[in-house]
């Protein structure tokens, strides 16, 4: 068990270091940073000044190790546009993105898991086909478009929910639903296939033969075993959701990390872009590590 933990942890750290390097190279390899920051109307003097002030005239590897040394201490430098510490900017906005991600995940679980179980129990019936249609629709739905449609219907026509901003919990309902839509198909499909496999197993037949109630068979014996792959996909989905928050936060003007990223990208504020790419990647790495560990705890067969 300890060896398993250690191995996964070492791989996670190596991946994190690779992403760190890639995040740095991303903003450097795409042309001359100083010219991008200075904008189209800048003179050569402006560009030279920017190069000197931001240290962009140093060799690339010096810049890299300088950045790396600070980044591992949680110091991502200063934002060119906001004139503030990048770590502080991200720290202020992480709670919004996390609330959005968790709301989306909760909605996806509440809808996706029962649908998957239902489809598995009634495999091949019209219920099953209806559920796979729901999954198909969810898969094909462009999230930003769904967001705009919801805004028109529930925000404007019906006036039930606020259209944008972060004032109250109601502001998270529409973005949460939109975010959930992207995770429901895979959650439903995985629950369904897991349940079908489990329901055909010997221990379910034994449970039936013992005369247990249907609910007890389905939930206690069935779902608990089918849930193992679902747990890991849930953690991974949360990671994808946080990554996908750029689009949804922009649509709903939720000022989370995704919105910050979009703002910084359009303003050539590269310290922030680098840091957000890194933070989202670290969150994803952390979540997959957590998923692996949860899996090992839930299913001793996987502890290799």
């Amino acid at each position: 068990m300890i060896r398993f933990f250690l191995r996964r942890f070492v791989v996670a750290v190596l991946v994190a270091l690779t992403v760190l390097t890639l995040a740095f190279l991303l903003t450097r390899l795409s042309g001359d940073l100083a010219i991008s920051i200075a904008g189209p109307n800048a003179s050569q003097d402006d560009i030279d000044t920017i190069r000197r002030v931001y240290g962009l005239n140093r060799p690339l590897w010096v810049q890299f190790f300088d950045w790396l040394g600070r980044a591992v201490q949680g110091d991502f430098g200063e934002s060119y546009f906001f004139r503030d510490r990048v770590a502080k900017l991200i720290g202020e906005r992480i709670p919004i993105t996390m609330s959005l991600g968790l709301t989306g995940l909760a909605i996806a679980l509440v809808i996706g898991l029962p649908l998957g179980i239902l489809a598995a129990v009634r495999e091949g019936s019209w219920v099953d086909r209806a559920v796979s249609l729901v999954a198909l629709i969810g898969q094909a739905m462009p999230s930003f478009w769904l967001g705009l449609i919801l805004m028109i219907v529930f925000g404007l026509k019906l006036g039930w929910l606020p259209i944008s901003g972060t004032g109250s919990w109601e502001h998270y309902v529409m973005p949460g639903v939109v975010l959930a839509f992207s995770a429901i198909p895979s959650l439903t499909r995985l629950t369904r296939s897991g349940m079908i496999e489990v329901l055909a197993s010997d221990y379910i037949r034994t449970a039936r033969a013992k005369g247990l109630t249907r609910f007890s068979i389905l939930v206690k014996h069935g779902f608990r075993n089918a849930a193992i792959p679902v747990v890991s996909i849930t953690a991974v989905q949360l990671g994808f959701m946080l990554g996908g928050s750029v689009v949804i936060e922009t649509v709903f003007a939720l000022h989370g990390v995704g919105y910050l990223a979009w703002e910084s990208i359009s303003k050539n504020d590269f310290p922030v872009v680098q840091a957000v790419v890194l933070v989202l990647a670290l969150l994803y790495i952390g979540l997959t590590l957590l998923a692996d560990l949860l899996n090992a705890v839930l299913d001793p067969r996987l502890r290799t």
Binding site: F144, L148, A261, A281
Partner: protein, 288 residues
């Protein structure tokens, strides 16, 4: 085995699957539109007419039979732009899949075929790729290098190879130990021969399913990037860009948002239906 064959009665199982038929119809129609759009569209999708702005679709009040889906904020014919957008989406979908497929299949087959250290490196590459937030990186690259159709295809192709690699790797691993591969080795052929004549043909159907998934994803991602203003540049009528331009008027002319989004939804649905049918077909193949 015999029961299935008799039941099918000479009819291909694909043709009795309504999902496949619908998917094939949608994707086929979009492909035809994409190729022949110059001859199909009623107007020039780039022709601006500021005297005829924001005309609603022909069946709505104030609509005109001249512009079936009305006109946009610059007086351009919306139906023609929608049709031209099909070409952009199909182009992005197909070319991204080719790019990402080449990368992913090469990486995955190498890992699965050789195993050991090479496979460790492949797994590491896949894990690293998955932890990189794709939308964000694509946006950042587009902002730095300036937007263009080629750039969108390249960036998406370089980002979306992970699923190809995962599937190519695991299926190659299964096939590598089968008897016919061993037989091929015994006949003294080169590794290249075994890879191209024995391994690749036998994992092709799995890869085809991945290709549909990635094509759908690429089309959706391009639309999202264009919607955020960092995908396909104006005045090209990408569906995502059309939605983005209509956003300003969304509460007055909601059809301008609904139409391109619905087109996007239908095309992606069609591609996914094709993929599902392919997967079902393989399922029956495996059970036989």
């Amino acid at each position: 085995m015999s029961a299935v064959t008799v039941q099918a009665g000479g009819r291909s199982p694909l043709l009795s699957n309504w999902g496949f038929l619908l998917g094939a119809f949608i994707v086929g129609a979009c492909a035809i539109i994409a190729v022949f759009v110059q001859w199909i569209m009623p107007h020039d999708p780039f022709a601006i007419d500021l005297n005829r702005r924001l005309i609603p679709p022909s069946w709505m009040e104030g609509g005109t039979p001249l512009n079936f889906l009305g006109t946009d904020q610059l007086g351009r014919d919306y139906f023609s732009r929608l049709l031209y957008g099909t070409r952009i989406s199909m182009l992005i979908g197909v070319l991204t899949v080719i790019t990402s497929g080449l990368i992913g299949i090469t990486v995955g087959v190498l890992g699965g075929f050789y195993g050991g250290k090479i496979d460790d490196a492949v797994m590491f590459a896949i894990t690293t790729r998955l932890s990189i937030p794709a939308v964000l990186v694509a946006l950042a690259v587009a902002a730095l290098r300036g937007t263009s159709l080629t750039l969108v295809i390249l960036v998406l192709g370089l980002l979306l190879w992970d699923r190809f690699a995962v599937v190519a790797r695991s299926t190659t691993m299964q096939i590598r130990n089968l008897d016919y591969v061993a037989a091929a080795w015994c006949s003294g052929v080169s590794p290249w021969w075994v890879l191209t004549r024995e391994v690749l043909p036998n994992i092709a159907t799995h890869l085809a399913v991945v290709a549909t998934l990635e094509m759908a994803l690429a089309i959706l991602l391009e639309a999202a990037l264009s919607f955020l203003g960092l995908g396909v540049p104006a005045p090209l009528p990408s569906w995502g860009l059309m939605i983005s331009e209509a956003k300003e008027y969304m509460f007055f002319t909601p059809w301008m948002i609904i139409v391109p989004g619905a087109a996007l939804f239908v095309l992606v649905m069609g591609v996914n239906l094709l993929g599902d049918a392919l997967r079902d077909l393989m399922g029956t193949d495996l059970s036989r």
